[in-house]
């Protein structure tokens, strides 16, 4: 064997070893989810057995029925969808609009306003918790989704993200041509810029949807009525009140995580590519 060939062999062996290692790590990371899904198909004695059973059983249907009899999970799913969906749609519209304005207009004060916007990202959200609740109390928004939706309708991060994307992907000439043709300011955004920046909105949509979907502390403080609870609240309630029914807790956790996981895995390739590219430009 020539030294060169030997070196290539060694590199291939290294690559194989690295792949095996990374694969084992991926399996370890996915294991809790796997166990959760499997355990939600078992009955209580099957879960408690040692060694743990790691293949599906036949009790899923009954577990789901028992769970729905205990707590309004389907309703919580709808509630979470409503709150997250509204925030996401509003963010996509308002962030892309503001991002477009920052990218394609040269207006007085632009730099300062943008720096102010970036600075607001550094304010930790937990700090405003007490005054935020007091405000919601004044507005009579306690136990109302308004408290969870209105403050999140537009975000500094989203505007930052969309400005980057618009600057790179929408040519100035196109904007100018549309204006010369008599397109209004909003019409130029809506008909010229928006179709081009749609891919950038995809990643932002996923980020903001998951952020709201997974939020625990704000709904914990604001929502009182169980019928209005979002999924994380109902799951927590389930675990605290019915802590001996582990199989039902598993079904509840599956309810709260698996739909999001499926959407994520379907979109993951583009999403992660966008995330890495976005992080690069910062």
């Amino acid at each position: 064997m020539t030294p060169r060939l030997r070196r290539r062999r060694r590199l291939q062996l290294d690559a194989l070893l690295v792949h095996a290692l990374l694969l084992a790590l991926a399996a370890l990371i996915l294991l809790p989810f796997y166990w959760m899904v499997v355990a939600s198909t078992l009955d209580l004695p099957q879960i408690a057995r040692y060694p743990p059973r790691l293949y599906p059983g036949t009790s899923l249907g009954r577990n789901v029925r028992d769970l729905l009899a205990l707590l309004p999970f389907v309703r919580a799913f709808r509630n979470s969808l409503l709150v997250s969906g509204t925030v996401t749609l509003s963010q996509l519209f308002l962030c892309s609009l503001a991002g477009y304005a920052f990218a394609k207009y040269d207006f007085p004060g632009r730099e300062r306003l943008f720096i102010l916007l970036l600075a607001t990202m550094m304010i930790p959200s937990a700090v405003g918790l007490v005054p935020w609740y007091v405000m919601m109390n004044w507005f009579h928004w306690v136990d109302s989704y308004k408290a969870l939706i209105v403050p999140g309708m537009v975000s500094a991060f989203g505007i930052f993200w969309m400005r980057q994307y618009t600057t790179q992907s929408v040519p100035d000439e196109l904007v100018q041509a549309a204006r010369i043709d008599g397109c209004s300011d909003f019409g130029t955004y809506w008909r010229v810029a928006l179709p081009i920046v749609l891919p950038g909105m995809g990643a932002l949509g996923i980020i903001s949807f998951m952020g709201v979907w997974n939020d625990y502390l704000p709904p914990l403080i604001i929502l009182r009525n169980v019928q209005k609870f979002t999924l994380p609240l109902v799951v927590a309630l389930l675990a605290n009140q019915f802590n001996t029914r582990q199989h039902l807790i598993m079904v509840g956790s599956t309810f709260a995580t698996v739909p999001v996981l499926i959407v994520f895995f379907l979109a993951s390739r583009r999403f992660i590519a966008g995330l890495t590219a976005g992080a690069l430009k910062e």
């Binding site: 304005a101 207006f107 632009r110 937990a126 700090v127 405000m135 309708m153 537009v154 799951v235 994520f264």
Partner: protein, 302 residues
């Protein structure tokens, strides 16, 4: 002077739609961003239970905090979690990002998706799932320990196992996010460096420690400080892991964090003035960390 002002006004008028387009953010920010911190400062000088009239107490809330053992417990806990989680996380994430960058091409996005998946799930559901993972009798982790010949651990009942359990949960949850950030940093390193090092006969480990680590130093600092800001505001995971032990972090308040304490003081005892003072001290701590962030990042740019 007059004409310049007229020119500015003309520019503003010509771009009036731009101001309309960006205004929603600034309006919401004024209401929900500017007002709360100012109001918190005012509140922190008062005694208030949200029902009865406020009572001005000066700096009494801050003075009391200095002697509040629970607050300091929460503070030291959070600082401990920040360091004990960040160090292994950084080493692990950087190593994995390096391996992905150097050896994996085709399956890269599949690996990343697997590592990232804990990040997209709700912290509440994840905390509850890990509560079961760490269960004494049927939890998967004790089953694994038994399989390896160790005796089961009472994870959520003693201070150090509790802390370790939380750190494992955080490592699991945040690893993928940090790998993605590091990978972005690594991809910006020119391949020429690696080629040159290989021509000089450097082995893989030497390349990693002598070339990769120094070149991604800005990313390391960025990731370290970003994750520390996250850990400083930890709530759902420690709260739900110990929720059945009274909501104050369980045995010896081992998992009590600053936001948990803030939550209990404000929404458990309705001591809003004191809670505002706690949040202000937290604000300053996080701000100091953020300023460190800017400082380091600014320096590395030059």
């Amino acid at each position: 002077m007059r004409s310049r002002r007229a020119g500015l006004w003309r520019d503003v008028k010509r771009n009036r739609w731009a101001y309309v387009f960006i205004s929603p953010f600034y309006v919401l920010f004024a209401v929900f961003g500017v007002f709360p911190p100012l109001f918190a400062l005012y509140l922190s000088l008062h005694k208030w239970d949200i029902i009865n009239p406020m009572q001005f107490v000066g700096l009494a809330n801050y003075a009391r905090m200095l002697q509040d053992k629970l607050f300091w417990k929460a503070f030291t806990n959070v600082m401990f979690f920040t360091v004990a989680e960040a160090v292994p996380e950084l080493i692990l994430a950087l190593t994995i990002a390096y391996l992905l960058d150097r050896f994996v091409l085709r399956a890269r996005s599949a690996f990343l998706a697997a590592y990232f998946s804990p990040m997209v799930t709700s912290s509440a559901a994840v905390a509850i799932l890990f509560g079961l993972m760490f269960a004494v009798n049927f939890g998967l982790i004790n089953a694994g320990l038994r399989g390896l010949g160790f005796s089961p651990v009472r994870w959520l009942e003693r201070p150090w196992p509790m802390k370790l359990a939380l750190i494992i949960l955080l490592l699991w949850r945040w690893l993928g996010w940090n790998v993605v950030l590091f990978l972005a940093g690594l991809q910006s390193i020119s391949r020429d460096y690696y080629e040159a090092a290989r021509v000089d006969g450097a082995n893989g480990f030497a390349i990693f420690t002598r070339i990769t680590v120094p070149l991604v130093r800005p990313t390391i600092l960025y990731v370290a400080i970003l994750s520390s800001i996250g850990t400083l505001q930890l709530f759902a995971e420690p709260y739900l892991l110990t929720a059945r032990q009274g909501g104050m972090g369980g045995r010896e308040n081992s998992l009590l964090t600053m936001v948990m304490y803030l939550y209990q003081v404000g929404f458990g005892y309705f001591r809003f003035g004191y809670a505002a003072a706690v949040s202000y001290v937290m604000f300053v701590i996080i701000l100091l960390v953020s300023l460190l962030n800017l400082r380091f990042l600014g320096r590395s740019d030059r």
